[in-house]
């Protein structure tokens, strides 16, 4: 393994300064993607800026309008939070089904969405709930956050501090696992806010994306059957050993149906 420098800032401001000073340095959140990449020689950073000591990035806060989850909250914390389980159970369940126990105890919300893995679970929730990503310098709406394969709207050296999720009236998430990795072959997040419905899909495309056809159908009638007639095109969808684009496309309304069932309890 290559040698590297490990920097351990004491504040977000210091982390941002360190990142600005060394453009090659990588921010280390939970390390559940970056460290395996390092071991495989796919990532060779000269320095890591370790965010694990930054209390400012921790904590789950709820108020009347929204749920604010610190960027360094581990998946297991979100999964077990009484507040999240009570008021946004779909998010708690999603977090509780990411990876395995080790991943859930180290992986973080900020790390996951900053990586924008096409098959990660959190991007579906962030987009499906229309969350707001807070960084050290601005706020970014979910709709403009995920921009491509492993690509986001974050600028070099910009640091996610928290994600604010508005309370949905009802929400559900259904993941169809890729048989080997158990990442989402396709995952669909559905959320209802009054008469408005948001549907976000992970695993199917280069990054998490919304499904307008399903949103419209479900806005008319928020029932599982509303998904049945919806056709999702396969253009641009992922294709690999585990499923063709057409296979993924037809999974989307099926999984949305289950997510709606879940949302309705």
């Amino acid at each position: 393994m290559q040698t590297f420098e490990l920097k351990q800032p004491r504040s977000v401001a210091e982390a941002v300064r360190l990142a600005a000073a060394d453009g090659e340095a990588r921010l280390l959140a939970g390390g559940q993607t970056l460290l395996p990449a390092l071991r495989l020689g796919l990532a060779v950073p000269g320095a890591f800026i370790d965010l694990s000591g930054l209390e400012e990035l921790r904590g789950i806060r709820a108020d009347g309008k929204q749920l604010v989850v610190g960027a360094m909250c581990r998946h297991a914390e979100v999964a077990s939070s009484a507040e999240v389980r009570k008021r946004l159970p779909a998010l708690a369940r999603l977090a509780g089904a990411i990876g395995d126990r080790q991943v859930r105890n180290l992986g973080t919300l900020g790390g996951s969405i900053a990586n924008s893995d096409p098959a990660a679970d959190y991007p579906a929730a962030v987009l499906g709930l229309g969350a707001t990503v807070q960084t050290n310098s601005r706020t970014i709406a979910a709709d403009s956050f995920f921009t491509g394969l492993f690509a986001t709207a974050l600028r070099s050296g910009e640091l996610i501090t928290a994600v604010s999720f508005p309370w949905a009236d009802q929400a559900g998430y259904c993941k169809f696992p890729q048989p080997a990795s158990h990442f989402a072959l396709v995952g669909v997040f559905v959320a209802r806010f009054g008469k408005q419905v948001r549907v976000a899909v992970t695993g199917a495309g280069a990054h998490a994306m919304r499904m307008p056809a399903l949103e419209q159908a479900l806005a008319q009638r928020f029932v599982p059957e509303a998904c049945d007639g919806v056709q999702v095109g396969s253009e641009g969808l992922n294709a690999d050993l585990h499923g063709s684009a057409a296979y993924r496309a037809q999974l989307i309304p099926r999984l949305a149906r289950v997510a709606v069932q879940q949302a309705l309890g």
């Binding site: 048989p179 080997a180 072959l185 050993l241 296979y247 999974l251």
Partner: protein
């Protein structure tokens, strides 16, 4: 006379070895650190097929910590890795055996082929130096597809211009063709038996040392058969004196066949160790295991079954192309032939069978025996045909099997085997009852009401274990013997150490074998220790593969025990002042028949080592016996498996609802261990059918080179298996009456699952689903059927 009572045999003793495994006290090869040890790293080919124009190693040699860099040129004089079974083609020509160099010389033939060995003070330095080696490759077209390899324009070996290793056949073709001509019904299938990657939990590893003092070598390595490894390495590859090489296979974390073979890595280490002058250690990374462990299966097959109007099987005809990979691995050639085609009678009295097998080279990792080895392929072929015939003829699949079961034993099959014993219908009837097949219709209707499809699949397998006897195997091309050796060393205090040529890498021999020994000698099991896996301790051994350890290795121990008891009687007779014939041995005591005069086993043992009152004139002191046992036949375990699945037609997801296994393993020494073997075998067999599939692309790159894409079974993929050991039919030709259980699950399970999946979707026009039956595969089969 021997102990009549059994205190241990048939009991569910917990495994004695598990204490050390579960508490981290095991000693695996990677746990062994030798003084002044150095580390090896293998530079591997990124190309599936390329000519090596030049290898430049200067920078690597000059790198920090580097002790040696070796390439194919350095080992050009070293022999190739040998193949242990000569198969002859139909035209009488021997199979093509191109050299399998321990480091590639002028060509690389699969991704992962070793191009250079770097030895350094540390692994990090060895790896860093390897990155400095420049290899000038001329990339050649790759041949990766089993079915079309023989028609490819690229030859992988000059010796085999059409990439064909051999074309072999068995059976009476004329009789088979005649039977097909008069058949009332013919069932035809074409399918692929999917390629698998073994994935033992412990990767392959080696640690080689050389002693200048006595010019000897010691190799610690992950082997299922250290004596065979030593014999092949010394006599065929390196030309070292066998008695100066000690091979130790300590605790080994799973083999499944993949650790039978002599591999390039440990051989290269032994070759280099004297030159380096320090021990050299190598442990495969998981990605190296994916690329270089011998893979399994990979058959492309067409098969036909001819039936008369009453549903009786008239003949079976099959044609298989078997992928050998880039080189012939140690037993590669006998897997699709001797261990596959000879099993095509299955449990049925099919009078005529013909099978042709073409073996081809491709630019993929070598393929060899993997849990089941040929027999899963045969069982899949037979049981898919039988089930499909049942569906086509609208006969209950169990009933069709009952009409065709072999009923009289011994039974000489038309493909060369003689089954000594068996009784198949009770196994099937019991499995049908346990699986509540009668209630299946109602369960299917309940599934349909929820929009799901439910299917029930059968599989009645036969297995041939403990490949034998040596002289017959030799006539069929085997280049090794197929016996096993055992030694019983009785210590002066009556404690016993047993040395077995079998090797345990998860099978529980230290418990099962001790149960046999303790019962035979009438002593507590705590007084028995089982040793294995060291050519320096054990007189000889053929090792563990083919579910042979208890039937062959256990019998060798039993033969040695008979000799110990025979000598003990003579010693006891002297001590008791009786004639040898009047002394009997029972429950750990030698006694004079009809009297209460007796000597305990330990007293006799002490006399053998402290021979003060001892018949020294006619008997040697000591109590230490060994035996070699060459079985007269295979053993033939059999079983009936039922698999019930529920399928979501929208996603193609298959859920195994029930799996029922009833097996006849003959006598059973430890039912808990045997059931554990069945569970493990089922998980592997269902893994093949449902999840696992090794895929190379047309460039020869391994697409399933990690757990991200190669799906290993998880506990959550399976229900609790219903496993029952039938009273069964004891093997007639070994004194233990045992058969072998290690591979059964992996052999019987795949067709049961695929039969269930096809049954669920038959009404929708699906006639076959490829393995692994992933959601995507099942969905695709449904789409194709609907078109």
């Amino acid at each position: 006379m021997s102990a009549a009572q059994s205190h241990y045999t048939g009991k569910r003793l917990e495994r004695r070895e598990d204490y050390r495994f579960l508490t981290g006290a095991g000693q695996y090869t990677d746990d062994i650190t030798l003084p002044r040890q150095s580390y090896a790293y293998f530079l591997r080919s990124p190309h599936a097929h390329a000519r090596i124009r030049a290898v430049s190693t200067e920078a690597a040699r000059a790198a920090p910590g580097v002790l040696g860099v070796f390439t194919g040129k350095d080992v050009a004089a070293v022999g190739g890795l040998p193949c242990g079974w000569l198969i002859k083609s139909i035209d009488g020509t021997p199979m093509k055996e191109p050299k399998h160099p321990i480091i590639a010389e002028s060509r690389v033939r699969h991704v992962g082929d070793q191009v250079a060995l770097v030895v350094a003070d540390s692994l990090a330095e060895a790896r860093a130096a390897a990155a400095l080696i420049e290899v000038d490759y001329e990339v050649l077209p790759a041949v990766t597809d089993t079915a079309t390899a023989a028609a490819a324009r690229t030859a992988i070996h000059d010796e085999a211009p059409d990439n064909v290793c051999f074309t072999w056949a068995i059976g009476d073709k004329a009789a088979v063709d005649a039977a097909f001509a008069r058949a009332a019904h013919v069932t035809r299938l074409a399918f692929i038996n999917n390629r698998l990657i073994p994935n033992a939990i412990e990767p392959r590893a080696a640690n080689a040392a050389y002693s200048r003092g006595d010019d000897s070598y010691t190799l610690y390595t992950t082997s299922q058969n250290p004596h065979v490894e030593r014999l092949l390495m010394t006599a065929f590859v390196l030309g070292l004196p066998e008695h100066k090489v000690r091979v130790i296979a300590p605790d080994v974390g799973g083999g499944f066949g993949s650790k039978i073979y002599l591999y390039a890595e440990e051989t290269a280490l032994v070759w280099a160790v004297k030159r380096i002058g320090r021990p050299i250690k190598w442990t495969a990374e998981r990605s190296e295991s994916f690329l270089t462990d011998a893979h399994g299966r990979d058959h492309v097959t067409t098969a036909e079954l001819a039936l008369d109007a009453q549903g009786r099987f008239l003949a079976l005809r099959a044609d298989t192309t078997a992928n050998m990979g880039a080189y012939l691995s140690t037993f590669a050639s006998c897997i699709p032939t001797i261990l596959h085609a000879t099993l095509l009678a299955g449990q049925y009295a099919t009078p005529a069978i013909y099978c042709r097998v073409q073996a081809v080279f491709t630019n993929t990792a070598p393929v060899d025996a993997y849990r089941g080895a040929g027999r899963p392929e045969a069982t899949f072929l037979v049981e898919r045909l039988v089930e499909t015939a049942a569906h086509e003829l609208k006969i209950d699949p169990a009933e069709l099997r009952r009409r065709n079961f072999i009923r009289e034993f011994p039974y000489a099959s038309p493909v060369g085997l003689t089954y000594d014993t068996g009784d198949y219908q009770p196994l099937l009837d019991r499995a049908v009852a346990l699986a509540d097949a009668a209630g299946f219709k109602a369960r299917r209707a309940a599934s349909a009401a929820r929009g799901m499809r439910r299917g029930l699949g059968y599989s009645c397998y036969i297995e041939a274990c403990g490949i034998a006897p040596s002289n017959v195997a030799g006539a069929l091309g085997a280049r090794a013997g197929l016996f096993e050796a055992g030694e019983v060393r009785v210590h002066p205090t009556g404690k016993v150490t047993v040395f077995t040529g079998s090797h345990s890498h998860g099978q529980g021999h230290e418990t099962t074998f001790a149960q046999i020994v303790a019962d035979k000698l009438g002593i507590p099991i705590e007084d028995v220790d089982i040793q294995h896996g060291d050519t320096g301790k054990i007189l000889f051994g053929m090792g563990t593969y083919g579910s042979r350890s208890l039937a062959v290795g256990g019998t060798a121990i039993l033969k040695a025990l008979d000799k110990v008891i025979a000598k003990g009687r003579k010693i006891a007779a002297h001590l008791l002042e009786a004639s040898d014939e009047d002394v009997e041995f029972r429950d750990g005591k030698f006694s004079v028949v009809g009297t209460d005069r007796a000597k305990a086993f330990a007293e006799v043992a002490l006399s053998a080592y402290v021979p003060h009152n001892y018949p020294l004139g006619k008997l040697e002191p000591g109590l230490n016996e060994n035996a070699f046992y060459d079985p007269s036949n295979f053993t033939f375990p059999a079983g009936a498996y039922l698999c019930e699945v529920e399928i979501d037609p929208g996603t193609g997801a298959v859920r195994i609802e029930r799996f029922t296994a009833v097996d006849d393993f003959g006598n059973v020494i430890n039912p808990m261990i045997v059931e554990g073997q069945v569970h493990g075998g089922l998980a592997q067999g269902l893994g093949q059918a449902l999840l696992e599939g090794c895929v190379y692309n047309s460039d020869g790159q391994l697409l399933t080179g990690s757990y991200s894409d190669y799906a290993m079974p998880r506990a959550s993929d399976f229900p609790q298996f219903a496993v029952e050991l039938a009273k069964g039919t004891p093997c007639t030709h070994n004194p233990l009456g045992v058969k072998g259980c290690g591979e059964a699950g992996a052999i019987g399970a795949p067709p049961a699952l695929i039969n269930a999946v096809v049954d669920a979707l038959w009404e929708e026009g699906v006639r076959d689903v490829r393995m692994p039956a992933t959601p995507f595969a099942v969905w695709s089969a449904l789409q194709a059927a609907r078109r």
